[in-house]
Each structure stands twice: as structure tokens, then as C-alpha cells.
Symmetry: C2
DNA sequence: TAGTGGTCTAGACCACGGT
DNA sequence: CCGTGGTCTAGACCACTAG
């Protein structure tokens, strides 16, 4: 992905927020200050701030400035972020099935395109644990066509999305989700160490990527008792 | 709310999409065409298209154009849209408790600010039905301070958000949500005509508005068996 | 009144898609 | 090759906030 100027600034500011150089409630430098310190125009600086606002890092107010927001300590923005971005918890991942070529044997709301279904399918299954308690069961399917040599290799930093980005230059560009509350079946209740029939949040996701022919299909089952799924949304 | 140029264009295009002047899969006029036909610059035209993309109406692709997207026929984008925007269903709303001044007696994740808690609280409870089947129980709390004469009046077109917008010029600017799967308790299971213990999707929402001192606190219990909650998200 | 973010103009160059 | 959207510049005026 092209490293544009606004993305560079966005990344710098995000890291500074994450590293605590700007604490919650504090204000980022003003747009004009960012312009002169980074030798860019306001349009570019605003674009970076717009993106940070979309991601929920800041709120902006006319006449005041760009204030760092409290990002709720749920399991983070599940939308397009990876699980590993969840903060403040000891998060562990266990592969129940490592990535391998399998059939498009999925029972999902979002069906693969006919183009995809003619290709090989990569599938993997992971169990996500928080503080050593299994919280989420995750299944993923995607076409093998555009990601050669994907199976057998480890993920970069354990992150699927980072691997796609750094190794294949594929970025997530959007998602569609459907949410259901369902009783746990036998298989899942064993894995999540709960009683069968216990209510779980099922999240069915289709991730779109920068490659229009490549989508990622995921299905999650979440035990939301201790860690509800968080989500934030800002219009302007 | 100020009617800026990009908002005018955004509104025009959105209505044209909703009215079917541009069908799914078709392309909107190019940015340059919109510029000349509306006598604006590309910056302004792009801002309108950016907003439409954020709302999920279009996808844009370099070299091709802005294509009208299929908006899933679940129960719509529950994020910031009202329930009444759900399409393709016979939706009915029953007030269990009409808007009235009550106490801030809520058991929510998102707590009112200390500023809000010193004001009077308006509360109302609604049951939303699809095809005459009760699907969602909804509770809402908000400060009475900035919306004089709210109680006792009917909603415009039955829409709470439309009433806020048209009668008080208050717009929704963002939201935070938390999602949980929970077993139905006695009260809710009666209302939704399901067995006690049946899994429900609980959505706890804090809506932020254009008035920084006014937030809306909502809690929903959804029977997702027939109508899952939909949600889409696009980055650029 | 000074400084902030919100909107807007009139250009420019680039990367991508299809011809 | 041309038209598309993506990025960027260098300005301008406005509305809002706070001292």
C-alpha cells in the first residue's frame, strides 16, 4: 500500500497516542501546527485527522481542537481491526486448524462469489483466549489464488491481517457483518468451557480487500459474559 | 444543521439512489461530471461521495467510478439509523411506556455524565415488530434539558431521530455500542413471545449528538432468529 | 480578538481501468 | 490513450470557542 503523506502523519499521531504522548482528554497539535511541522497543507493534515476520527482515536470540535478520546476497554473495534489489537488484556491464540487447502465448506450468510468458488480455499480455525480463558472461536475462509505460499508459513506477529498486508500488500477496505445471539452447541461449548445452550454472540463477517476478487469470510462465536464486543462510529 | 453544498449534493444523490434512479451495480456520474453539473469543485463533490460511501450507499474504485452498492436487507444499519429505516418489512412500533419524565434509573454500560444526571430524565420504552412478530425491545433515556416540550408530543413520522432533527435541530454525530448475547429474562421473554433463557442480542448504545451536552442512552434486546442485525463498514 | 476546525475554490500530478 | 478516482498544494472565508 502506498505510503501517502496523510497516512504517514496518521501513523505517527496514532503511535504517539498509543504510546501515551497524548493522553486521553489532551489535544493534538492544531491543524496549522501539523501543517508547518510536517510541511504539508491543511487538506493533507485534515485527511490524517479525519481517518483518526473514523478509527475512534480522537473527537474534533470547532473552535477547540482534536481531543484524544477514551477508547473503551472492550475487545476493541472488532470491525476491521484484528483481535490482536485488543488492548489491556493478556491475549493468546491457539490454532485448532492451521491454514490449509480445504473445501469451501462454510455455512455462512455471505457466500463466496462464483469466481472465488472455482479456486482453492484456504481455511483455518483459531481459539482466542483472554487471561487464559477461551473467549472466541474463529473460522476463516479465503481464496488461495492471490496469496501464493500462504499455507505452511507463520503469521507475521501472529496477525493474519498484518501478514496479508506486509507479505501480499493486501489491505482490508471494508466489511459486512451480521450479528446473532445463539445457543452454544456441543462442539463450541466444550471449546469455550461453557454449558451447551449458553448464549453466544455469532458474528458473520465478509471482509473486502484492496484486491476486488479477494474477500475473507469469517465466522466468530463469542462468549460476551466478561468481554462484550465494542464498536464505535463517528459521522463527522 | 447548516445546509452546506456537499450536504445538498449528498442528499440529492442519496434520494436518487433510494428512488431507484441509479440501480445497484450502476455508476453515479463521475466526480468531474458532478462538478460541472452542480458548479462545485472536486473537493466538494468528493466530500459528498465520501459521506455516501461511509453510509454504505456506494463503493468507489480508481479508474472505474462510484458504484451503487447493495445494502443488505437485514434490519438495516442499526448503528445510527432508526429502526424505521429498515426496509422490505412491515414494521410496527408499540409504545410500552410513552415519553415521560422519570429517574435516571438505568443499568447501562455507558453512564450519563454528571452534567446530565443533574437534569430531568426522559425515558420511553418501545416494542418493535416485524410482520406482527415482536423482535426488539428498546429502552431510551436522555436529558430533558435541551428538548423542551418533548413529552406529550408525537414523533414526526413515528421516528425519534427525525423528531430530534426537525423539531430541535439535533443531529446524531456518533455512537458507541457494546454487544452481548444474553438469556431472556421473564419480563422480556413474555414481551418477545419466546421462552425464558432464549439467547437474545443485547445492544447498549450511547448516541452522541450535535449538542455536546446531550447524549442518548439506549438499550435493545433483539430476537435475532429471523432477523439478524446487519452492519457494514467501509474505510475509503 | 486570536486561534480553532469546517467548508470551499482552482488548480496539479498520479495510479488505475478499459479502449 | 483517455477518463476515472486518489492525493496534494496554496490559498480563502466562515462559525465556533475562549480569554
Amino acid at each position: 500500500m502506498k505510503e501517502t503523506r496523510y497516512k504517514k502523519l496518521q501513523k505517527i499521531l496514532k503511535e504517539q497516542i498509543q504510546q501515551g504522548k497524548f493522553n486521553i482528554g489532551e489535544y493534538l497539535p492544531s491543524e496549522n501546527e501539523l501543517c508547518s511541522s510536517h510541511k504539508i497543507t491543511r487538506t493533507t493534515a485534515r485527511k490524517a485527522l479525519d481517518e483518526l476520527m473514523k478509527e475512534g482515536f480522537i473527537v474534533r470540535q470547532q473552535g477547540k481542537g482534536s481531543m484524544v478520546r477514551e477508547r473503551r476497554e472492550s475487545l476493541g473495534l472488532l470491525n476491521v481491526k484484528g483481535f490482536s489489537e485488543a488492548v489491556g488484556h493478556d491475549v493468546k491464540t491457539i490454532f485448532l486448524q492451521k491454514p490449509a487447502i480445504r473445501t469451501w465448506n462454510l455455512d455462512l450468510t455471505y457466500r463466496p462469489t462464483s469466481e472465488e468458488i472455482e479456486t482453492n480455499c484456504i481455511h483455518f480455525e483459531r481459539l482466542r483466549c483472554v487471561n487464559n480463558v477461551p473467549i472466541t472461536l474463529e473460522n476463516n475462509w479465503l481464496s488461495a489464488k492471490y496469496i501464493p505460499d500462504f499455507v505452511g508459513q507463520d503469521f507475521i506477529d501472529g496477525s493474519f491481517f498484518k501478514t496479508l498486508s506486509q507479505r501480499y500488500l493486501i489491505e482490508i477496505t471494508g466489511s459486512e457483518q451480521e450479528l446473532r445471539a445463539l445457543p452454544a452447541d456441543e462442539y463450541i461449548s466444550n471449546l469455550l468451557q461453557i454449558k451447551a445452550g449458553f448464549p453466544l454472540l455469532q458474528i458473520t463477517i465478509k471482509f473486502m480487500t484492496s484486491n476486488p476478487s479477494l474477500n475473507i469470510y469469517s465466522q466468530l462465536y463469542c462468549n460476551t459474559t466478561k468481554y462484550p464486543i465494542g464498536n464505535s462510529y463517528f459521522l463527522k
